[in-house]
């Protein structure tokens, strides 16, 4: 069958391959309906360019639950990829991704990766596309991903990936058009009347056209009948082979097919000769998934069960490690007793590869058949499912799973397991924002543990309880549980658990106790993670050090850890760590008085439905508080947005935005409203042991005249001011590095202190605080108030947005639009748009003038050692 009307597509792919050879790689998304001929195009492309590139094929399968990273596994198996050793050695998907990236960058012969049927892709493969799509522009490679565009609807998991990728200049969306009437006429041997009927009946779908023409009948009603017409001519034994091949997604090893069908090789030849099956590289497959579906639909269910059952028996002997495949056939055989054995193992295999969505799906399917599971297994699987759902941020479902695990553990009566399940339930409730319902299960968990002999399970339950208490900012129970777990982990010699429990202890100390000691503990835990090869432990230590040191206002430690957290999160595409890390950098910038930086960073973490909440709450809180201090319109709205992200979130996320509302009220002379504004978070703050939350809440309540003494346990810089010791407070804030808080303390002092505070507020651009203080000084009869620097030199006079300042800096550095786009991770068009906006605001006719103006106005640093700018 000749390939018609595909030259345009093949030319485009050829052009992109040539550009890739020149170092400008791209990703092509090839979408079309089922049967349009996507595979034919990429196969032909592979034939044409096999000499100048290694064209490597991988495909996604329509399994009950997709096999994790199956296309990458296919590609790794091809010896030309030189990736099989990497795949055998690495468990972490991102290590695999970077290995592939390195291989693409270093290959002498350009690599072309063809990933077929992305509409069936597992989560890991979608992550890979996202990963490589972000990096392909700089690689001498081409990636072609095919998918059925009619099956990828708005709610399909591949949809956001495709949407995100198509915004990039190095990504091209192509489609395979239906065949024209002329093409169908040519295929019909010039029979115009027949061609017209076939074209009308098939809408030019290449597969339907081929099937219908080949069936030799007058246009059959459906393609199913066309396929069946071909199959109808087969003998018994060939028919069995066809039915067996239909049980397998995509393709089946020839030897397996013959053994299961109990057929001779001649039977396979017969099916191939009839055009029902294709044989290639030792595998049999249907010409199209539609054909496979047609055969499957007419095979009696009882026979299908038998074929699937025979596949399970054979695979158990020959490929016992391919658990996703075993689980698929066991499910299709309705052999539930076997399925519930394979699915949890397949889940663990998927989780190890980082494919948590698939892991959760296997567990869900197994638990749907709970009657085939013994109860201890079911309880363990519910707990595992809850864990996977946490990773996926699906908190409501995780809560249900945790409740089921606890229910079963209660019936079963093993106190150690019940304690562990209760600890997990406490955590699940915390994550779901049910902060007030955490104490019950955690209290019961700790009570059970007291009477139990030491064991690893007991240590894990203590670790779990410690984490929940730490997150809730309950110091004593957190320390007690973490120390118990740490002692046990050490005695039992489990280094990984030792690292984890040190993190819990360290985080508890850093946010509520001895912060300096805590930094050492967290660094040590990081080291343990590296030493025992547990990157998750090291990453958790960095996360806790970054956000914990931020909360404790140890800014140098915080910034170093947050930078490491953001860098590793970008490398691994871990979006939740990235969001939280950037949000905390915004919070730290706000507290240190770097307001432009705070807003710029906060804007990078917008709330997104279905994603984690703690990054956006923190970012919006920092932005809103910055706006309050600068007296910008809309500040209250941003703070309300922060609180609305998750109104029942824990105290540690909410107290700062609430204090922002109190501060705004104070600046606007609405002190009387402060107690009411703080009322929603007050019970949580007084229940928790967070010195920084207690301190700031005390400060604003005191300003409102609603509190005479600081809450016990308040952080000293706040407490000192409330006690009237403004000197001590100002000195402490100066040492910590919070200029606004320092000025705020000074504003409560003598005349000299007030003058210094006024200068400082003005330097910071904190207009409302400056105005309030100046008014008070006038009231006190103080004259000759210091003048602030002129507004024009303090703030950028051209009214550039933070993004435009970034663009301007890159223009000054001599970057072209394309380079700016790449640097800022935006499209070239968007970069162009920013550049013209900058030119307009600076009133500059060209780049050179804009750069000169910018440097002249001091909008951007330096200028002397820059290359001459071109216009």
């Amino acid at each position: 069958m000749p390939l018609l009307e595909r030259e345009g597509l093949l030319d485009e792919l050829g052009t992109r391959l040539r550009a890739a050879v020149g170092g400008r790689g791209s990703l092509v998304l090839l979408g079309a309906e089922a049967g349009a001929g996507k595979t034919a195009v990429v196969t032909e492309f592979g034939h044409r360019h096999g000499q100048r590139a290694h064209v490597l094929f991988g495909g996604c399968d329509p399994l009950t639950t997709p096999r994790p990273l199956s296309p990458l596994v296919d590609i790794a198996v091809d010896p030309r990829s030189h990736l099989s050793a990497t795949f055998a050695a690495s468990a972490e998907p991102y290590e695999l991704f970077t290995a592939i990236q390195r291989r693409m960058a270093d290959s002498d012969v350009p690599l072309v990766l063809v990933i077929e049927d992305v509409h069936w892709a597992d989560e890991g493969t979608l992550d890979f596309l996202r990963f490589i799509g972000r990096r392909i522009a700089g690689l001498p490679s081409l990636v072609v991903a095919t998918y059925r565009d009619d099956e990828v609807g708005p709610r399909h998991p591949a949809r956001p990936v495709i949407g995100e990728l198509t915004a990039r200049p190095s990504v091209r969306l192509l489609s395979v058009p239906p065949l024209s009437l002329e093409a169908v006429t040519e295929l019909a041997g010039g029979d115009a009347a027949r061609a017209a009927r076939v074209h009308r009946a098939t809408d030019g779908n290449a597969f339907y056209v081929t099937e219908v023409l080949a069936s030799g009948e007058e246009v059959p009603r459906t393609v199913r009948e066309a396929v069946l017409a071909r199959a109808a001519r087969l003998g018994d034994s060939a028919r069995r082979v066809v039915e067996v091949v239909a049980t397998a997604p995509r393709s089946l090893e020839l030897t397996v097919a013959l053994e299961v069908a109990q057929a001779e090789p001649s039977a396979a030849d017969e099916a191939v000769a009839a055009g029902v099956l294709l044989a290639e590289r030792g595998h049999l497959r249907f010409r199209h998934e539609l054909a496979r579906g047609a055969i499957e639909a007419v095979t009696p269910l009882g026979r299908q069960f038998a074929w699937h059952r025979a596949m399970v028996d054979l695979l158990q002997r020959s490929q016992p490690d391919d658990l996703a495949r075993l689980a698929h056939h066991a499910a299709r055989a309705h052999a539930w007793d076997l399925f519930v054995r394979f699915a949890p193992l397949a889940a663990r295999q998927a989780a190890e590869r980082g494919a948590h969505r698939e892991a959760a799906q296997f567990l869900r399917l197994a638990l749907e058949r709970e009657q085939h599971l013994d109860r201890p297994t079911a309880a363990a699987l519910w707990a595992e499912l809850a864990y996977e759902l946490h990773v996926l941020d699906l908190h409501a479902e995780a809560l249900t799973a945790s409740e089921r695990a606890v229910g079963l553990r209660r019936e079963l009566g093993d106190p150690e397991e019940l304690a562990l399940a209760l600890g997990q339930l406490g955590h699940a409730r915390f994550r779901a924002g049910l902060d007030d319902q955490v104490a019950g299960p955690i209290g019961e968990c700790l009570k059970l543990l007291r009477d139990l002999p030491d064991s690893l399970a007991k240590a894990r339950a203590y670790d779990q309880a410690a984490m929940v208490s730490m997150l809730q900012r309950h110091y004593r129970p957190a320390v007690a549980a973490a120390e118990a777990a740490l002692e046990m982990a050490r005695r039992l010699g489990d280094a990984r658990l030792e690292g984890r429990t040190m993190i819990m202890l360290g985080t508890t100390e850093i946010v509520m106790g001895d912060a300096r000691r805590a930094v050492g503990l967290l660094r040590e835990a990081h080291g343990i993670g590296e030493r025992v090869g547990a990157p998750d432990v090291s990453r958790l230590a960095t996360w806790m050090l970054g956000s914990g040191a931020g909360e404790a206002r140890l800014y140098d430690e915080a910034e170093e850890a947050l930078a490491a957290m953001v860098a590793s999160a970008s490398d691994t595409d871990d979006d939740s760590a990235l969001a939280y890390g950037v949000a905390w950098r915004a919070r730290v910038a706000f507290e240190r008085g770097a307001y432009d930086e705070a807003v710029r960073l906060a804007d990078r973490v917008p709330p997104r439905p279905g994603h984690g909440i703690i990054g956006p709450i923190t970012a919006l809180g920092a932005k809103g508080r910055t706006m309050v201090r600068r007296g910008e319109a809309g500040a209250e709205e941003v703070l309300r947005q922060a609180l609305a992200v998750s109104p029942r979130a824990a105290m540690q996320y909410l107290w700062s935005p609430y204090c922002g509302l109190a501060e705004l009220a104070w600046l606007e002379g609405r002190e009387a409203e402060i107690p009411e504004l703080l009322a929603p978070v007050m019970p949580q703050v007084t229940d928790a042991d967070s010195p920084w939350a207690r301190g700031e809440v005390s400060l604003w309540s005191w300003q409102a005249g609603a509190m005479a003494e600081p809450l016990p346990g308040s952080a000293e810089p706040f407490a000192a001011l409330v006690r009237g010791d403004w000197r001590r407070s100002a000195r402490l804030w100066g040492e910590i590095g919070c200029p606004y808080e320092r000025a705020f303390a000074l504003a409560h002092g003598d005349e000299d202190a007030m003058r210094e505070a006024l200068v400082e507020f003005r330097r910071l651009g904190a207009a409302p605080a400056a105005a309030r203080l100046a008014a008070r000084m006038r009231q006190l009869g103080l004259s000759h108030l210091p003048r602030g620097p002129r507004r024009v030199t303090r703030r950028n006079p051209a009214q550039l947005t933070p993004r435009q300042v970034e663009v301007l800096e890159l223009m000054v550095a001599g970057l072209t639009n394309a380079e700016i786009a790449q640097r800022l991770d935006i499209t070239e068009k968007t970069a162009e748009h920013h550049v013209s906006a900058v030119l307009a605001k600076l009133g500059a006719p060209n780049r050179a003038r804009a750069v000169a103006t910018a440097v002249g106005l001091g909008l951007v640093p330096g200028g002397e050692d820059l290359p001459p700018a071109s216009s």
Binding site: L301, G302, F305, H334
Partner: protein, 92 residues
Amino acid sequence: MMPTFIIERTLPGAGELSQEQLREIARTSNRVVADLGVPYRWLHSYVAGDKIYCVHETADPDIVREHARRGGFPCDSVTVIAEVIGPETANG
């Protein structure tokens, strides 16, 4: 013992179907049941308004869905019947 299922099918105008049309549907269903090759009993169905509620007996809800797929019948939900009760249940 094999479970019994109640199946809800939405079929606009089901209550208005002629005897001829109902016979055609029943024939299709019987043929599909015969071709399934696994134990399967269609007990009876209630045709009411825009719905048909069917009672079938087989090993697994997936088989009920496969029956619907092969027959081209709608299938909104498949629920296992836990118990059948009636006025006499009050006496037990």
